[in-house]
């Protein structure tokens, strides 16, 4: 069913490919695009752990993205932490936040869950906006992010920053892959498919959902940290409802049933954004229309459609096996 070695190999290959980009002298625009893609990609991939694998549609996931960003930014600006220290602190803070919010939300049914996560996100957003003295309000964290060297790595250097982010990104993807291919990952699928039956197998559905919620929040936080390092600041819109909406759209666009689907969706969406911006300032209008066409027309992400076709072929083979066995059994009975 899964091959850990193959996955690790692919991850390594991906990392190598990413690292080759600056080596081959790609223009900064490409590197910037990739950096944005990595940060938002982690947001979308982590959200899909909830939506695609567990069936928990959270519409407020961006709050963890923003929490990681702001916690990291504030920690570095305080001057009391090294980069690795602030990294860990930011993730820890987000995990705690997810634990509390998750404990309240995870038990609720689909609709209430979607909306309550949205509400909590907006609360967080309002706190960021309102606590001007601490967070800079609508201006965001100003004054840049200090980057003291650690372990000989200097993140003020763009290339080293790129390498650092690439490694962090691939590591997170590998972690998500590990989760998804583990027994825990299949428990998530069971909950998504038939929560009642899962409970009937003795699974503690609430605890599993909560664990998943916290884990996905942590990965989203890493995405936020990467973005903060990249843009040298943290801004309230990291945690605005449109960011959550875009993450969901990235998942739809790429496909929620394929592991890397959300990442593909991130790339497609960012391309779409960048292209639209060159022609018109009405990106929202275009995005809205595209969403409608996709939701009402295709009803599934393109990767999902491809995955479906591939799965249908596998099923056809398995069905051939069954039909052969049944025929044998039938002739056995007739004899």
């Amino acid at each position: 069913m899964t091959s850990r070695w193959r996955d690790l190999g692919l991850a390594g290959l991906g990392l190598v490919l990413l690292l080759l980009v600056p080596v081959f002298g790609a223009p900064p625009a490409i590197r910037d695009f990739i950096m944005f893609g990595m940060a938002y990609g982690l947001l979308a991939m982590s959200l899909n752990l909830l939506i695609g694998y567990t069936g928990l549609v959270s519409f407020g996931h961006a709050m963890f993205f923003a929490a990681g960003a702001y916690a990291f930014g504030l920690a570095m600006q305080s001057g009391k932490f090294s980069i690795p220290g602030a990294f860990v602190l930011a993730i820890g803070f987000t995990a705690l936040m997810a634990l509390i919010i998750g404990a309240i939300c995870v038990r609720l049914n689909e609709i209430y869950f979607a909306f309550l996560t949205l509400a909590f996100q907006m609360l967080f957003y309002n706190i960021i906006l309102g606590w001007v003295s601490f967070t800079g309000g609508d201006q965001g964290l100003m004054g840049g992010i200090p980057r003291p060297k650690f372990l000989g790595i200097d993140l003020a250097d763009r290339t080293q920053l790129y390498v650092f982010c690439s490694v962090a990104f691939v590591a997170c993807i590998a972690v998500l892959r590990q989760i998804v291919t583990s027994p825990f990952g299949y428990t998530l699928r069971m909950i998504r498919d038939n929560q009642e039956r899962a409970a009937f197998l003795g699974i503690n559905v609430t605890m599993v959902k909560l664990a998943c919620f916290v884990m996905s929040a942590c990965v989203a936080a890493v995405g936020g940290i990467l973005l903060t390092l990249f843009v040298s600041g943290a801004y309230p819109n990291f945690g605005f409802w449109t960011t959550s909406g875009e993450a969901i759209f990235m998942i739809l666009l790429g496909g929620s049933n394929v592991f890397l689907g959300p990442l593909v969706g991130t790339v497609i969406l960012r391309l779409l954004n960048d292209i639209t911006v060159t022609y018109t300032s009405h990106t929202e209008l275009v995005l809205g229309i595209v969403i409608l066409v996709l939701v009402l027309g295709l009803r599934k992400g393109p990767l999902d459609l491809l995955a479906e076709r591939w799965e249908n072929r596998r099923q056809a083979k398995a069905q051939a096996v069954r039909d052969a066995a049944d025929k044998d059994a039938q002739t056995g009975r007739d004899a």
Binding site: I51, V57, F59, I104, L108, N109, E110, I111, Y112, A114, F115, L116, L118, A119, F120, M122, L123, N126, I127, G130, W131, W241, G245, I248, F249, L252, H282, E284, L285, L287, G288, I289, I291, L292, V295, L296, R299
Partner: protein
């Protein structure tokens, strides 16, 4: 946190009157929007995340009609009707396609509509905040009550909203139309099997819910500034109201809107930074102890 200011205010009747009224108008606006949300959810089992946009369109429509006709009442009525029609269109063309689908699809359709309407408003009316100003019909001296000062328009708003609420409650509870709607909420296919064109009723319900939002927008226009983002913040609050009051309950929406409205107005004196926090706290408590809301039907 400035609890002293709050205590001082509570001690003065003038302040109490002012805050009560302002709390009531916030509450009544929320009530109109929340009752639309709760009606649509109760009957169609769909959360209309685009409801805030309908409110916004109502406000802008009222502003435009007012520029054209100079009469506030005509503008307000026109806006409510226009948004109602828009709501029916939205339902027939878009929402009805995702009734059976999971929340994700419904969310995305509404999200798309919000994006599109936000941008269209920016294109047609411009991103600069507009203001309608107080219509001449209401440029009357403020009413003095127990030492407090109440602008006459506020009284109109409160009475209008209550009247609309009462009308809604009567229509749903006491008319044939209302009983069909209530039956469709419980078992749509069954109503259809009785030979009634359920889809028409679904569209009508969506239209009524939208018209309520449009009316709220029209009522808000003289006293709020019109910006393309005005829909969203009130949407979240209306959801909080709906959850606290109970999904599907108009009475619940009424009670909860008053609670939230008063929390906002008194809270802005006593704990301005935490008003949102208190609202969420109330909602969280309700969800923990009575998940179906104060007046809601308990689902399994």
């Amino acid at each position: 946190m400035d609890l002293d200011a709050l205590l001082r205010c509570v001690g003065m009747t003038s302040c109490v009157v002012t805050q009560l009224t302002s709390g009531m108008i916030i509450g009544m606006l929320l009530f109109l929007i929340a009752s639309g949300v709760t009606l649509i959810f109760g009957v169609l089992n769909v959360i209309n995340f685009a409801h805030g946009s309908l409110y916004m369109i109502g406000a802008y429509a009222a502003w435009t009609f007012y520029q054209l006709t100079g009469s506030y009442f005509v503008s307000a009525l026109g806006a409510a009707v226009a948004v109602g029609v828009l709501g029916v269109l939205f339902e027939r063309v878009l929402m009805s396609k995702v009734y059976g689908s999971n929340v994700l699809m419904q969310l995305l359709v509404c999200y798309a509509v919000v994006l599109i309407s936000d941008d269209l408003i920016k294109i047609i009316w411009g991103p600069v905040p507009l203001s309608m100003g107080m219509p001449p019909e209401f440029r009357l001296p403020p009413v003095r009550f127990m030492g407090g000062v109440i602008p006459p328009f506020y009284i109109f708003m409160i009475l209008a909203a209550m009247a609309i609420g009462l009308l809604l409650w009567l229509v749903i509870g006491r008319t044939r139309f209302g009983s069909i709607v209530r039956a469709a909420a419980i078992n749509g296919p069954m109503v259809s099997a009785l030979g009634i064109r359920v889809n028409l009723y679904y569209a009508a319900v969506f239209g009524i819910g939208s018209a309520l939002a449009g009316a709220a927008g029209a009522l808000a226009a003289p006293v709020r500034s019109l910006t393309p983002g005005m829909g969203f913040s009130i949407l979240i609050e209306s959801f909080i109201v709906t959850v606290i009051g109970g999904m599907g309950s108009i009475v619940g929406a009424f009670a909860a809107s008053i609670i939230i409205g008063l929390t906002r107005s008194f809270g802005s004196i006593g704990f301005p930074l935490f008003v949102d926090g208190v609202m969420f706290l109330i909602m969280a408590l309700v969800l923990i102890f009575k998940p179906s809301g104060l007046f809601g039907r308990a689902h399994r």
